[in-house]
């Protein structure tokens, strides 16, 4: 089951489009269920049981079809994994959510896996298959990886075996022909949740990271989460004004870059929907929108 989550339903369509193109390319089957709702994570901070029930509903729908869940968003990824763990460890909570879900004939058992798209790319598709299919080398691009927080922490759900200095995005980018060196700001957070309370503070911290990426001579930033993508991509003008410093960094999903390297056009991977100067990045590898 491909589960998109709120941000992708609302505006981050290019992540879903590019992810689906890659899955189709490599023959990974998935199903989409429009009757789904939010993963519940935002309500964890209001009422833990509400979060658990919403998360359990998504998993119960997948279980009914005998499917695992594939998430694109880091937030949804951790939400479902964490909820699954809590429900499996607490018979009381499991009973509570199943009492609520039972009314629409759904039942959470926990017999499924929750996987992030990057893990599917890394484990199920694999670097070898990707490298055999690269048509357009991303040579000459120097890209800053941004993992986001909930794909790495807590470590028991980390998509990389080394959450303090992960390397799997870098290794994928290297197979595509790009370089992706370490930079000290790599693990800095996009501050999406704090922006609910203090937008300026969040923008200041985002600006620090974007500025560092710019000054270190990267051609762009690579994300794997719609919350991070939106945080860094759509706020650049406001951040520039606030910091009195021109910030102009192309921000692009890893799945879009993989698509380009497989020979898909910029529009096919939804680059016409990005809000940062991605043309600059395309120009460097001899591509354009026309």
């Amino acid at each position: 089951m491909l589960y998109q989550g709120c941000m992708i339903w609302s505006s981050q369509y290019q992540y879903e489009i590019s992810a689906r193109k890659i899955l189709d390319f490599f023959g990974v089957n998935y199903k989409v269920f429009p009757e789904q709702q939010c993963c519940g994570k935002p309500l964890m901070c209001v009422n833990i049981n509400t979060w658990l029930t919403l998360a359990a509903r998504i998993m119960a729908i997948a279980e009914k079809e005998g499917l695992d869940v594939l998430t694109l968003c880091n937030g949804c990824y951790l939400s479902l994994n964490e909820a699954r763990k809590i429900l499996l460890e607490s018979p009381e909570k499991k009973e509570l959510v199943n009492r609520i879900l039972g009314k629409e004939d759904l039942k959470f058992s926990g017999e499924l896996r929750i996987k992030h798209i990057v893990s599917v790319i890394w484990e199920d598709i694999g670097l070898k298959k990707i490298s055999e299919n690269v048509k357009v080398k991303l040579s000459g691009l120097k890209l800053a990886s941004h993992y986001g927080c909930h794909s790495l922490r807590p470590k028991e759900f980390s998509i990389d075996s080394n959450p303090e200095n992960p390397r799997i995005i870098e290794e994928i980018l290297e197979v595509l022909g790009a370089e992706s060196p370490y930079y000290p700001e790599k693990n800095d957070c996009c501050m999406i949740l704090m922006s609910n309370v203090d937008v300026k503070g969040a923008d200041l911290l985002r600006g620090k990271k974007l500025l560092a990426i710019q000054r270190r001579g990267f051609d762009g930033m690579v994300t794997i989460c719609p919350l991070c993508q939106q945080s860094y991509e759509t706020r650049q003008k406001r951040i520039s004004k606030m910091m009195k410093e021109k910030i102009s960094v192309p921000v692009i999903y890893l799945t879009q870059l993989i698509g380009l390297a497989l020979g898909m056009s910029p529009r096919e991977v939804g680059l016409d929907l990005n809000m940062s100067p991605v043309e600059r990045l395309l120009g460097k590898i001899g591509l354009s929108f026309d």
Partner: protein
């Protein structure tokens, strides 16, 4: 010892063992810009029973849940989980931050935390999911309200 309310929510945490190494503070992005926000101080105040004061100060809503404090704490105190528990207690007392009330109402109304905004393409056209031929979510409103209510959300969802 934790107060009854907190212990119910975070029974696996023993805040007493914090010896103030400040690892949680040094990694905290919120602490970087808000001097009043210190994960270990929040844990200690909660442990000492200053729950009302923490709720009234509003400081508990600053945490961005990056989870660095919880991962790096050598004593497994999990400050980020303490904050979540405090937010649950605040909500029970009718003190949910307005941003979270809005997200809850949107989930009740349309299944997601925000409406479909669409995006301006490079050709200056407003694009929505239907223009791209991808499924539009259609969660059932009465079902969502029932789930939120039965799971005990302490909010008036305005239905």
């Amino acid at each position: 010892m934790l107060g009854e309310e907190l212990r119910k929510l975070i029974s696996w945490i023993n805040p007493e063992v914090c010896f103030g190494c400040n690892k949680c503070v040094s990694g905290c992005p919120v602490a970087e810009i808000h001097s009043e926000y210190r994960p270990n101080r929040i844990v200690r105040l909660a442990y000492l029973g200053f729950i009302d004061e923490l709720i009234e100060s509003g400081v508990i809503w600053y945490c961005t849940q990056c989870l660095k404090c919880s991962e790096r704490c050598p004593m497994e105190v999990y400050p980020a989980s303490v904050v979540v528990a405090l937010r649950n207690i605040a909500s029970k007392r009718g003190k949910t931050h307005e941003a979270w009330i809005k997200m809850a109402k949107n989930i009740a109304l349309q299944g997601k935390i925000l409406p479909e905004m669409g995006v301006m393409s490079i050709d200056r056209k407003l694009i929505k999911r239907k223009d791209l031929g991808i499924e539009v979510p259609n969660a059932d409103r009465s079902l969502l309200i029932r789930i939120l209510r039965e799971s005990g959300i302490p909010l008036d969802l305005g239905e």
